[in-house]
């Protein structure tokens, strides 16, 4: 992981560096883990503080074993409990939610909550808005990150180092600084002097300016074997062909991580779409839900909340490994 040297002295983020540089390595180790798990679940490969011989001692087994069960119960109650309650509320009549929230369906199940939320409260419309916003934000992030990463890692023109420093520098600027000036920029874009307020572009385009994505993708490209590029060049592939037919297909793991995080981040985003999309017809679920909260029947509101949570949870359950790997890597840019 000594890619730092190429950046020169102006390359502070060592943690990010190591994390991003590990991307292909991490992919490999994940596949390796999957393979070993199939052979035997607890191999010597995965040793930790409590060794196999420790486990043989009764004192360890009789304290750690039950502790693990207790931990599992606590995790289910604390992490899943609120979501199970949400699922229950989504199909409980409002009167029961308000009077006896913890009772299990004393007066039957109200499936009508879901259809009312979807049709009458127009969750369907906001759901579509959310998906469209996520798709556009995904595209702009992937476009900027892959072309930028390719430029900085493979093409490397003379100005690449300046560009890279300028991109890295934005990592150090907290989002709060950008809030107001970015809003004014979107209100009156330079050169074109059009307003992106009340337009999806106002959310899509700023989403692309993610330095973390660029760094992540660039580090992944850095670790791709240069021999393949040389071979392709010898075979007559130009820079576009090399990008589209060689580099991108080789980068599926990192593109997956960037995609998942782009979609989830867009789904979670609240403050920016709240500022840019003033027209309720354009708003995503996250912006719309708080404004319908007071005027909507509790049961229907809970159904709407449950519907909004469905896609992220399904994505998480399907792409679990990618999420957890990305969370381990992405720790450095949580703020």
């Amino acid at each position: 992981m000594t890619t730092t040297s190429r950046l020169g002295p102006a390359s502070p983020p060592t943690v990010l560096d190591a994390a991003a540089g590990e991307a292909p390595e991490a992919t490999r180790s994940v596949t390796r883990a999957r393979r070993t798990r199939r052979v035997s679940s607890d191999d010597g490969d995965d040793r930790s503080a409590v060794s196999a011989s420790d486990w043989r001692r009764p004192s360890v087994r009789w304290t750690l074993g039950p502790t693990h069960w207790l931990l599992l119960v606590l995790l289910v109650v604390w992490c899943v409990g609120p979501l199970l309650l949400l699922a229950k509320f989504a199909v409980t009549p409002t009167q029961d939610i308000l009077r006896t929230p913890m009772a299990i369906f004393p007066n039957g199940i109200a499936w009508s909550n879901l259809s009312e939320a979807w049709n009458d409260v127009q969750v369907s419309k906001y759901f579509v808005n959310t998906i469209v916003l996520a798709a556009g934000a995904w595209f702009s992030q992937i476009l900027v990150a892959t072309t930028g990463g390719y430029l900085l890692s493979v093409l490397r023109p003379r100005y690449a180092r300046v560009l890279q420093a300028a991109v890295l520098a934005t990592l150090f600027v907290p989002a709060v600084v950008l809030l107001v000036p970015l809003y004014l920029t979107v209100l009156d874009t330079p050169v074109f002097h059009t307003s992106l307020v009340n337009s999806f572009w106002g959310v899509w385009l700023p989403a692309g300016a993610s330095a973390f994505n660029v760094v992540l993708v660039q580090r992944f490209f850095d670790n791709l074997p240069r021999e393949v590029f040389e071979a392709a060049r010898v075979d007559g592939a130009g820079p576009y062909r090399l990008f589209w037919s060689i580099v991108l297909p080789m980068s599926k793991p990192i593109l997956g991580v960037v995609s998942i995080f782009a979609v989830i981040a867009s789904w979670k985003d609240f403050l920016w779409p709240l500022l840019v999309l003033r027209n309720p017809d354009l708003q995503p679920l996250s912006v719309r839900l708080p404004s319908i909260e007071a005027t909507t029947d509790k049961g229907v509101l809970m159904a709407a909340l449950a519907i909004s949570t469905l896609i992220p949870i399904v994505l998480f359950l399907v792409f679990q490994r990618m999420f957890l790997r990305g969370a381990g890597l992405g720790g450095a840019v949580k703020g």
Binding site: V15, P157, F172, T189
Partner: protein
């Protein structure tokens, strides 16, 4: 590569040799990054600095020197917001710092269904924050029939006012924020724990160390770096807390949950007559300087740890 190399490599070429050498296609690939970062990142950053010394109503703009900063410091809400933000950060540390660590250390030792544990822990992180806040707002219903008050009733504790009490409002926000974020911290710790070289445990065991001593003398020192990283990340994150106070309480009761970011939002967007953009950027710049110092410390120390 030093600057001398760059100078040496710079040849006097015609535009044609530049295109032949791939200069044009490189520029095509640079375009999305240049445009998007230029307009939506670099320009706003410069503008933030400029705007903090200006007053604007979007039509006319004038330089006002340090007036914005003076106004911000004269605002009686600033000390309140600072105190609240620090209080939020402190509570978030108390709730959200030690427990994920203990959970991660225990989860590392799980022998069966390890993936189940981390999936459960991470699940709240993928829930959209707005959904989580609105759901918890209902849990905090102050009536005796409220969800949390019902649960408290089971163990004989009288109903609590939760968000409506000046003293309980902030801890309530932090409790929800911890629920939403702790899973991410657990996963970072788990990743760090996996990176501890197993030889260290073997060596300790050969020297006769039991489980406790291995945890205390091998594992904890190895985690020193990541513990500090998560600490700084948490401070940077909590200093910018907005969603919880905005959606749960709107800053109330009696300004007990007004945070710095909520104040910035109110300066810029809270007034229907037109935003006070100068003061908003001035305050966000002040906050940013504080955060920059924090992240500088963070990178200094992580660099020292990663090289040592």
């Amino acid at each position: 590569m030093t600057t001398d190399d760059v100078v040496l490599r710079r040849r006097t070429g015609t535009p044609l040799t530049w295109v032949r050498g791939g200069g044009l296609s490189a520029l095509v690939f640079a375009l999305p990054l240049l445009v998007i970062f230029g307009v939506f990142s670099w320009l706003p950053i410069v503008r933030a600095v400029v705007m903090s010394f200006q007053k604007t109503n979007l039509i006319t703009t004038s330089w006002v020197g340090l007036q914005n900063f003076q106004n911000v410091f004269a605002d009686p809400l600033l000390p309140v917001a600072t105190r609240n933000t620090l209080w939020f950060a402190l509570l978030a540390l108390v709730f959200g710092y030690p427990i994920p660590l203990v959970a991660a250390v225990l989860m590392r030792e799980v022998r069966r269904a390890k993936g189940l544990y981390s999936a459960l822990a991470y699940l709240p992180v993928v829930v959209p924050p707005v959904v989580a806040v609105l759901l918890w707002k209902f849990f905090y219903d102050p009536r005796p029939e409220g969800v949390f008050n019902t649960i408290l009733g089971w163990v004989g504790i009288p109903p609590q006012p939760w968000l409506q009490s000046m003293t309980m409002a902030m801890p309530s926000l932090v409790l929800e924020a911890t629920w939403a974020a702790a899973g991410g911290t657990v996963i970072i710790y788990l990743a760090a724990l996996t990176a501890v070289p197993p030889e260290l445990y073997d060596a300790a065991e050969v020297d006769g160390a039991g489980v406790w001593r291995k945890v205390w003398h091998v594992l904890v020192p190895q985690l020193r770096g990541v513990l500090f990283v998560t600490l700084i990340l948490q401070v940077i994150g909590t200093a910018q807390v907005f969603l919880e106070p905005y959606l749960f309480t709107g800053g109330g009761p009696a300004n007990a949950t007004v945070t710095i970011l909520l104040l910035i939002y109110r300066y810029a967007f809270g007034n229907s007559l037109g935003g006070n953009y100068g003061e908003a950027t001035a305050l966000s710049l002040l906050l940013a300087v504080f955060l920059a110092v924090m992240s500088l410390v963070y990178f200094r120390l992580t660099r020292r740890w990663s090289t040592s």
